[in-house]
């Protein structure tokens, strides 16, 4: 091709490209202006990891949260004002979450934030909201967020924390003299769960025969199995989350560890159980905030499940998904009591709130704003006992809500 040919050819294309790009650019920039909503609405920001390994849990959370909003709106909203849920993808990344939260607060002018799905992300969102005096209801496990260093009067922690969860599981699974071996993911979640278990063990009189930390995100656990076996524990306690949980349990079973020990985890995850076969998880015991099977005994659970089923084509809410509902509902009920979105009034309302929306009575403790609630202990069913595709677990214990299972306010660093 001669030089002129090339130039005239490419120049034309390039100009067309530029115009197209300009047009798209203007259109893209105009979008948010077009999409701006009515100003009188109550806006709630909802950052959640729609992309990434917990996309399934995140989508469940969105569905539950939207259900809560819809129910309140159907009853006339809050003082006549409609509630709007602004869902954003935080990509399970603290930096992204902080940016989305800033956008929600500065651009979308939300009145409160509810979210998110990891401890790190929660803390990032918390940093942003407390500096700007915005209400935040966090819905993921974290012991750190209860402590005085990260506390803010605007933040309420609706989810369970590791201390509560491990205590309940330990009380069910450990006895005096039980030998426990720990396989722990080497990051905050794992450390907090281990600390909780050891604290509970000390009270029960069970002993730790060994502790192995594995790198967070490890795919292969074969190198830890021989050592774990050699400890001859009664209980193999595996403290990790997500894929790590599925992989480590599967490989422990592969190595025959389930024949000699019982496997116990702090949180038994619905979606991780689906990621492996029923045989792998059979007999594994773990804690949870919610299981749809509660509807057999609890009217509020039945009401929640029925409403969720109606809105989602017969699907049942999962554990982490339920947090979306309970978190948003507690906030909306408080706003209802406060008559609006005045931050101080809502804080007072939340501190005084007693709510029962899906799993029994709950309330927020004053010193650290932790939601005091029941803790479920579940056991994974064997395939033959499953009455349906979602009938994954049986509820073996349901600990009533109590402040005794939490760390004391003094322990957390609050002045008494």
């Amino acid at each position: 091709m001669t030089k002129d040919n090339r130039n005239s050819n490419r120049f034309n294309i390039s100009r067309r490209h530029m115009l197209a790009a300009l047009g798209t650019g203007v259109g893209v920039m105009a979008m948010p202006w077009i999409a701006r909503a009515a100003d009188d609405n109550i806006r709630i920001g909802f950052p959640t990891p729609l992309t990434g390994p917990f996309a399934a849990e995140a989508k469940d959370q969105v569905k539950s949260a939207e259900l809560a909003v819809k129910q309140v709106n159907d009853k006339g909203g809050i003082n006549g004002r409609k509630v709007e849920l602004l869902v954003r993808d935080d990509k399970l990344n603290g930096g992204e979450a902080a940016t989305r939260t800033l956008e929600l607060i500065e651009k979308d002018k939300v009145h409160a934030i509810v979210g998110s799905l990891s401890s790190a992300v929660q803390l990032a969102v918390n940093e942003v909201t407390r500096a700007r005096g915005v209400l935040y209801v966090s819905i993921s496990q974290s012991d750190t967020i209860n402590e005085v260093k990260d506390f803010s009067k605007y933040t309420f922690h609706e989810a369970l924390n590791p201390t509560m969860t491990t205590a309940a599981v330990a009380r069910y699974a450990f006895k005096k003299g039980t030998k426990v071996a720990h396989l722990v993911a080497d990051y905050a979640y794992g450390h907090e769960m281990l600390r909780g278990f050891k604290r509970a063990q000390a009270a029960i009189g069970a002993e730790t025969v060994g502790e192995i930390m594995h790198p967070f995100g490890a795919a292969d656990y074969s190198t830890f199995m021989p050592r774990l076996r050699s400890m001859r524990p009664d209980i193999l306690c595996i403290s990790n989350f997500g894929r790590d949980q599925a992989n480590s349990i599967k490989q422990a079973v592969d190595f025959g560890l389930k024949q000699s020990s019982k496997i116990v985890v702090p949180v038994l995850l619905h979606n991780q159980r689906l990621a492996v076969t029923p045989e792998v998880f059979e007999g594994v015991v773990g804690g949870s905030n919610y299981y749809w099977g509660l509807e057999g005994t609890l009217p509020s659970a039945k009401a929640f499940n029925d409403a969720y089923r109606a809105a989602n084509g017969g699907a049942i809410p999962t554990d982490y998904g339920a947090y979306g509902y309970t978190g948003v509902m507690s906030l909306l009920q408080a706003m209802q009591a406060a008559g609006g979105t005045d931050t101080d009034k809502v804080i007072a309302a939340l501190e005084a709130l007693k709510y029962d929306v899906a799993k029994g009575p709950q309330y927020y403790r004053k010193c650290d704003h932790q939601s005091v609630q029941s803790v479920l202990v579940l056991e994974s069913k064997k395939k033959a006992d499953m009455k349906g595709d979602s009938d994954l677990f049986s509820i073996v214990a349901n600990e009533a809500p109590s402040e005794q299972v939490l760390r004391t306010c003094a322990e957390l660093g609050f002045p008494t």
């Binding site: 603290g94 940016t99 956008e103 803390l123 990032a124 940093e127 990051y187």
Partner: protein, 330 residues
């Protein structure tokens, strides 16, 4: 290739585009700053604008090494993260004032860049990229383990800067507009610094190394020292971007140090144009805007961004700005 030609004489019958290009090159710093001034009003949110500022600085700094010296480093997230962490720790745990913390962050990043640069510039080609990747991952895992200092994978928190004292003025730093313009001062300084570097004999030297390392050595350039200096300077500017990020988010996520962040920096730089001065900034702008907008439409935005990147590598290796400059501003 965009060789800065500040002192090059123009042909007597220079066409207007050539003069325009020369003018753009001479005035690139003021023009860039002008663009940055109006940026926040064009984008959907101020937080996004600040992010563009931050990553624009990081990419321009990275491009000093990638586009101008020709070395593909896959580990520059280490310096970005180091700058952020040091600033955060200084403010949060030692109560240092914000501008001193920034200085410490930049210095710390420079030192780290010098060390890693010293080790990696001894290798060449693909091995260079691998070494930078490995060393940066090492920094990542060290930061993960040193959780008492860094907060581990919970990230670094507890150093929110609410108000700053700038030359006697008490500014509310939480206000997004204020924050943008304060950080813009840093960005302008970084751009000015890079431009000065590129205009200097050193700038010519690094481009010579990119073109033909052996010939540059024959011409008498101390190639190893020049590469190391380029690496260090590039890392320092990335660290500056990191300190800006720390101030902006009041939070340092552990992912700042991960190779995926390094990869993102490379993608942005390439997208904008690795052989131009302002290209990386445009790349950061387009990338972040795409991410912001696409993730509102679909949770599968990564496939769009990945495909666009592949198409750019194949057909538009000069990037958006580079192609624009070479086609239109001839």
């Amino acid at each position: 290739m965009n060789v800065p030609s500040v002192a090059a004489p123009l042909a007597a019958d220079a066409r207007k585009p050539a003069r325009l290009k020369a003018m753009m090159t001479t005035y690139r710093v003021p023009l860039s700053i002008l663009a940055l001034c109006i940026l926040p009003w064009l984008l959907p949110s101020k937080a996004l604008a600040v992010n563009v500022l931050i990553y624009g600085v990081v990419c321009v700094g990275y491009n000093l090494l990638f586009g101008y010296t020709g070395l593909l480093s896959f580990g520059h997230a280490a310096f970005f993260g180091a700058g952020a962490y040091i600033t955060g720790i200084a403010i949060g745990q030692f109560g240092v004032s914000w501008y001193l913390a920034v200085l410490m962050g930049v210095t710390g990043g420079a030192v780290l860049a010098f060390i890693i640069g010293g080790m990696s510039t001894r290798t060449r080609g693909i091995y260079f990229s691998m070494v930078t990747l490995a060393l940066a991952q090492l920094v990542y895992y060290v930061a993960l383990q040193a959780s008492t200092w860094t907060g581990g994978e919970n990230g670094l928190r507890g150093f929110t800067v609410n108000r700053i004292n700038l030359f006697g003025f008490d500014i509310n730093f939480l206000d997004p507009v204020n924050k943008y313009y304060v950080l813009m001062v840093f960005a302008a300084a970084a751009l000015w610094l890079v431009s000065r570097i590129l205009n200097s004999p050193f700038g010519a030297a690094i481009e010579a190394i990119r073109e033909n390392e052996r010939r540059a050595r024959t011409c008498g350039y101390d190639v190893e020292r020049t590469k190391l200096l380029a690496f260090t300077l590039s890392g320092t500017i990335c660290a500056l971007g990191g300190t800006m990020s720390a101030l902006h988010l009041a939070f340092v996520p552990l992912e700042s140090l991960h190779y995926l962040t390094s990869g993102m920096i490379v993608m942005m730089t390439l997208l904008g144009g690795a052989s131009s001065f302002f290209g990386p900034f445009i790349g950061a702008l387009v990338f972040l805007l795409m991410e912001d907008v696409f993730s509102l439409w679909t949770s599968h935005w990564q496939i769009i961004v990945g495909s666009i990147f592949v198409l750019f590598v194949l057909f538009l290796p000069k990037g958006i700005w580079g192609t624009f400059l070479s086609r239109v501003v001839r």
